[in-house]
């Protein structure tokens, strides 16, 4: 069934963002067990059931128009959220080609790509774009190619140069990060930008994950889910804007917890960029309020147990400590064991 887009909603100020019943149904709930610990939870990104967030390489959903408007807002204030170091120019074109090919093939009612040699025509119906350009010639596009295409695709994108047995954050479009910054991480290696994560290093998680990522082959992408929590449906929780959202974590009460606290899930999708050998690291973010999530009581029960038993170091790193107990108390009503006790 073709995806239909909701009218514009906001991820800031009045926070009018909300999920439809269908968006809740397809939400990528990340917990397979009643407890959570870091692991190398990377799997081959084989397509799953139609309609699910795993059906296509790049998931477009009902929030498309709103998310693209939000990205434009962020870029207007802070154009440096899109970074392309000079040696990443080819990887930027690679990304543009991959995104256009897949969107046109997977959502033909919305996107269309016509190619004759290097003369390309790109049609994006929802955003009313019809762009003729010469593939490989940046002057034929209104802006740099990575910025051009990622202004039209949901989710953040880091583009990683592969060299010296590591991956380097040398390009990206990052307007909805979960408390990090492309400007801060620019040029860092995979090992460096993961340095602050607690516990996982001692478990060897990053060494194994890096080895896995370095060996990704063309046309055989992998994916994993990551998660954290966010107050309000705010997409732009970047380090740069911490002063706008950091204090909201101290404002959670038993009365507002269900509406304000959101589970934030990242569907990370990593394909090899064929021509440049760079690795694309897509971070597609899904937000769901506790209230919405509890419409599925099994999810609410499991989330209760996960958060209740989450190691302190992980809760701190994810920034949950100020309000975790309030969330756990509210979720307890959905856990039969907790209710009985």
């Amino acid at each position: 069934m073709p995806v239909t887009f909701k009218p514009l909603e906001s991820y800031r100020d009045d926070f009018s963002f909300a999920n439809s019943a269908e968006a809740i149904r397809r939400f990528p709930f990340p917990f397979a067990e009643d407890s959570y610990m870091y692991s190398v939870n990377i799997e081959p990104a084989t397509p799953r059931e139609p309609g699910s967030v795993f059906a296509h390489w790049f998931d477009i959903d009902e929030h498309y128009l709103s998310e693209m408007a939000e990205r434009a807002l962020v870029l207007e204030k802070d154009p440096d959220r899109c970074l392309v170091m000079p040696h990443m120019a080819q990887a930027a074109w690679d990304t543009l080609e991959m995104l256009m090919e897949h969107l046109a093939a997977d959502y033909p009612e919305h996107f269309e790509l016509r190619r004759e040699g290097s003369d390309w025509l790109w049609i994006n119906r929802p955003l009313q774009i019809e762009q003729r350009f010469t593939f490989g010639d940046p002057a034929s596009l209104p802006c740099e190619p990575l910025e051009y295409i990622t202004r039209q695709v949901q989710g953040d994108f880091a583009v990683l140069d592969q060299r010296d047995g590591n991956l380097y954050m040398d390009a990206g479009m990052v307007t909805c990060p979960a408390d990090w910054s492309i400007k801060f991480d620019a040029g860092m290696s995979f090992t460096q930008w993961h340095a602050p994560v607690p516990m996982a290093h001692q478990m060897g998680v990053f060494e194994r994950a890096l080895k896995y990522l370095l060996n990704i082959q063309v046309d055989h992408p992998v994916r994993r889910l990551n998660w954290t929590m966010t107050i309000n449906p705010r997409l732009d929780t970047s380090s740069e804007t911490f002063h706008e959202w950091g204090h909201e974590r101290s404002q959670i009460t038993p009365e507002n917890v269900a509406r304000k606290v959101h589970l934030r899930v990242e569907l990370q999708f990593m394909p090899r960029l064929p021509r440049s050998n760079a690795l694309l690291f897509g971070i597609r973010t899904y937000l769901i309020s506790l209230e919405e999530l509890a419409s599925n009581p099994a999810w609410a029960c499991r989330l209760h147990r996960v958060l209740r038993d989450l190691p302190e170091a992980i809760a701190d790193y994810k920034g949950l400590s100020l309000y975790r107990q309030t969330v756990v108390d509210w979720l307890a009503q959905f856990d039969p064991e907790a209710v009985a006790a």
């Binding site: 040696h87 990443m88 690679d94 140069d161 592969q162 060299r163 010296d164 040398d170 080895k211 060996n215 082959q217 063309v218 046309d219 055989h220 064929p274 021509r275 440049s276 050998n277």
Partner: protein, 314 residues
């Protein structure tokens, strides 16, 4: 395991008495794109078993309609190069694994020094369009035996002019590695592909001159060396796999229906590393450190010792 790509052999060219070039076209759809330095693994259905050998893609990465590889007939072939030379004809169908790249030109190099020995020229043929498009500073040093392993000499002389230096062993002309590496400016990266002896010589010379390891890139695609036969016992599945002397452990496992993730099949990428629980191992890889070797081995090249049973965590 990655799904194979079905291709048709579109052209075969005999370039020298021992080098044949093959052009592949997709049976349907488009071939996946690839980057300079990539290889594919060709599945070769021999009578008694399927061999899988890795070959560099030597076509221009911007040309999307076909792949090209070149195969040198090996004197001590286990059957792979002989099959490619004697059996494969235009119109035949073959299966390839998708492109992977373990030998990519560095984005940080100020100067690229390419050193090829014989058939080791192949990955550099895909480098050249890439380096030219980047406007990169590079030179290619090509050592061969004239009339035998100099498959792309004339083409390269015409294309590269002064950027190419040839060393014909038949004419008594040899690479002077100490001088060549010694005169490179700081920030140069060296890439070498060819026989093991050439790779060793370049790595040793670069180390002696104080080049950081991150500026020395090498790729070897040697078929696994034969060894003594041995038996592998699989702890989880309970299977027992006999490994013949001209099979690698990885090949024997595949033959027994046990798939192990793999890419280079030559002991360098680390993808196939497998835990073992007991037995003596003859490690032949260039990936695992001494500590890791106590518990892991790379079945694409390494073997159990004859007479000792190897217990794998599979």
């Amino acid at each position: 395991m990655s799904a194979a790509i079905e291709v048709r052999v579109a052209a075969v060219r005999q370039l020298t008495p021992v080098v044949r070039e093959f052009t592949f076209e997709p049976l349907q759809g488009r071939l996946p794109g690839f980057s300079a330095g990539s290889h594919v693994v060709v599945h070769m259905p021999l009578a008694e078993r399927t061999l899988r050998n890795a070959y560099s893609l030597l076509s221009d990465p911007t040309e999307r309609g076909h792949y090209r590889i070149a195969v040198r007939l090996q004197d001590e072939s286990r059957g792979g190069s002989r099959f490619m030379h004697e059996q494969v004809k235009e119109g035949d169908r073959l299966q390839l694994s998708p492109p992977a790249n373990l030998f990519s030109p560095s984005s940080q190099a100020r100067r690229h020094l390419l050193i090829a020995g014989g058939i080791g020229i192949t990955p550099f043929l895909s480098y050249l369009p890439e380096l030219r498009a980047r406007g990169a500073d590079f030179s290619l040093h090509y050592a061969f035996r004239g009339g035998l392993t100099d498959a792309y000499r004339q083409q390269l002389q015409a294309e590269l002019g002064e950027r190419l230096s040839c060393y014909d062993a038949e004419a008594g002309c040899f690479l002077d590695l100490p001088r060549l590496l010694g005169e490179q400016p700081l920030g140069s990266h060296v890439y070498v592909c060819g026989p093991q002896s050439l790779i060793e010589a370049v790595r040793e010379q670069a180390a002696a001159l104080g080049w950081p390891a991150s500026r020395v890139h090498w790729e070897v695609f040697a078929a696994p060396e034969p060894g003594q036969p041995f038996v592998a016992q699989l702890a989880r599945s309970g299977k027992r796999v006999a490994v013949g002397s001209d099979f690698s452990l990885l090949e024997a496992l595949e033959q027994a229906g046990v798939e192990v993730p793999n890419l280079c099949r030559g002991g360098v990428c680390g993808q196939c590393d497998t835990r073992y629980l007991d037995g003596e191992v003859e490690h032949r890889d260039a990936f695992l450190g001494a500590a890791e070797r106590a518990t892991h081995l790379m079945p694409c090249v390494s073997r159990g010792r004859c007479g000792s049973a190897l217990l794998l965590d599979l």
